[in-house]
């Protein structure tokens, strides 16, 4: 237990820069966006005309429509939360893909694992570290969004503001665990990050386009972003979606753990793939 705790502590402390950066960034965004509602409210008539002039497809892409855009939840859904999973996924992809493999590629993992840690304690210590970092980022973001609620006419309280951050946490952990899992199988961290990034982007675009095109709606249901919830009420929260995403994250983490238990620890540079057409190109140049 002590080994797991030590690994968690060092991982969490090692991510303090990321926690502050992303967390304060979210918080500052909240400090900016929440008062915006009242500022926009003062120009509601002009705003309604502007929104009415947008193509419905444009509004649908962001998951809203002309009638909901100016409601408190619609406003937050579009201006605050719609892009957040994509933005926070940058943290998830980079940290998740490098959680183990970053040290391996830099040649540090050898020496770490030569200490009496054990692969399981090390893996779960690191994973808890990223969980702790993600929760801390969400906490800071939530604080930033909640601090200005008292002076705003949005009509939500601090407790209600937690709800979208729960869903955001589930999205973040899903992408982090996907990146971690891919890093166990793919030959490099950068490749794992790239593939996960493609999944994030595809998830966002397919889900958003699915609002506009029925042919994509079915495909959108396979995308994690489809299950991102910007509701601000525990009663409206779809708990099944939330726990399904968390459950998938746990499964991916478990698969990554089993892979880490079984695989060799590579010395930096080992195990790279060479695509056949690149091999041929190398031979001729």
């Amino acid at each position: 237990m002590k080994r797991l705790w030590t690994t968690f502590l060092y991982t969490f402390l090692g991510l303090r820069g990321q926690i502050l950066g992303w967390g304060l960034g979210l918080a500052l965004y909240g400090l900016m966006v929440v008062p915006m509602y009242d500022a926009l409210g003062a120009q509601q008539e002009q705003l309604q005309q502007m929104i009415a002039s947008y193509p419905p497809e444009f509004l649908a892409f962001f998951g809203g429509d002309a009638s909901s855009m100016l409601t408190p939840s619609g406003f937050l859904g579009m201006y605050a939360f719609s892009m957040m999973p994509v933005i926070i996924s940058i943290f998830a992809v980079l940290v998740g893909s490098g959680l183990i493999v970053n040290d391996e590629e830099r040649g540090r993992l050898d020496l770490i694992m030569a200490h009496p840690v054990g692969r399981s304690a090390f893996f779960f210590g690191r994973s808890l570290g990223i969980l702790g970092a993600a929760v801390s980022i969400m906490l800071l973001g939530w604080l930033g969004f909640s601090v200005m609620l008292g002076g705003s006419s949005l009509g939500f309280d601090w407790g209600q503001m937690i709800v979208p951050f729960l869903s955001l946490l589930a999205q973040t952990l899903l992408y982090a665990m996907l990146a971690l899992l891919l890093s166990m199988f793919l030959p490099s961290r950068s490749l794992a990050a790239m593939v996960t990034g493609v999944v994030v982007a595809a998830s966002y675009f397919v889900s958003s386009l699915g609002f506009m095109d029925e042919r994509l709606a079915a495909l959108a249901k396979l995308m994690p972003y489809h299950y991102f919830q910007t509701v601000l009420s525990f009663q409206e929260l779809n708990w099944a979606w939330l726990f399904t995403l968390l459950g998938i994250s746990v499964l991916m983490m478990a698969a990554a753990w089993l892979s880490f238990l079984r695989r060799d620890i590579r010395l930096s540079g080992e195990g790279s793939w060479r695509l056949p057409f690149l091999l041929k190109h190398r031979k001729t140049t």
Binding site: T6, Y10, G107, D110, L111, I112, P116, G118, E270
Partner: protein
Amino acid sequence: MDATHAGNLDQNLAIQIQGLTKSYGKVQALRGINLEVHQGEIFGFLGPNGAGKTTTIRCLLDMIRPDGGKARLLGLDPQAEPVVVQARTGYLPGEMQYYENLTAERQLRFFCAMRSDRVEWSYVRQLAERLDLDLKPQIKNLSKGNKQKIGIIQALMHHPELLLLDEPTSGLDPLMQQAVLGLLREANSAGATIFFSSHIMSEVENTAGRVAIIRAGKIVEIAETTSLTRRVLNRLTVRFKKPVDVTELGKLPGVELLTRSGQTSVTLQVTGDMEKLVQALGQLPILDLESERPSLEEVFLTYYKK
């Protein structure tokens, strides 16, 4: 590795390897390593780059999983009980990599924490003083030699029973090399077994009681250091009273003409039995004859000409 057939594995050996094999794709890195290291000895492990030294050590520490064979460290299976093995061993990799933004002190404190703080910090400081290492600077600002010192300290700081060292004096100046070798001898005197690889033949020759030579994934020789240098090679410098054609000497089995000085002096290297050479020299007008023991490096190199 098979943990159920430990009956023929000696619990009193520090390291016991039987039939260890490991492949990386089509490349067979280890082709059946057999090795025993007794508790309390200093054992040298020699081989050129790519011979399999690092692969062997990493198999012993459960960083990589061999394809076949058995290994025991201090009587324990490193795959079944990796944490226990790692608690009792100290490891120095061939390439030391750290968290470069940490200071040496913070890096060592990290390693101490990974050992569940079963390390006396006063001993770490003592080792740092012996090796003349300032613990305050960031690692990225340290020289290669100073980074190596951090590695040596983390390998020794918990008084391990077994030390696995990959080129322990790499990057160190001669004074520090002697300081490190002194620390290793002290650890050995206190009962630690030391298994180390090196390219500095003089330190292996002066430190190790036995050596193993590995080549292309197989052990080609295991012997006491002194008998190895004595057994395999002899170098003779012969001076003649008058010019002699020494070409025929070079044609004798195991004899190699190294140098000639005119036709009155020749240096020969003899591998194995000298009887035929001595008989041939008996027919020649010898002025004097000088015999020289080869260094371990020269012995080592003969295995790479075979």
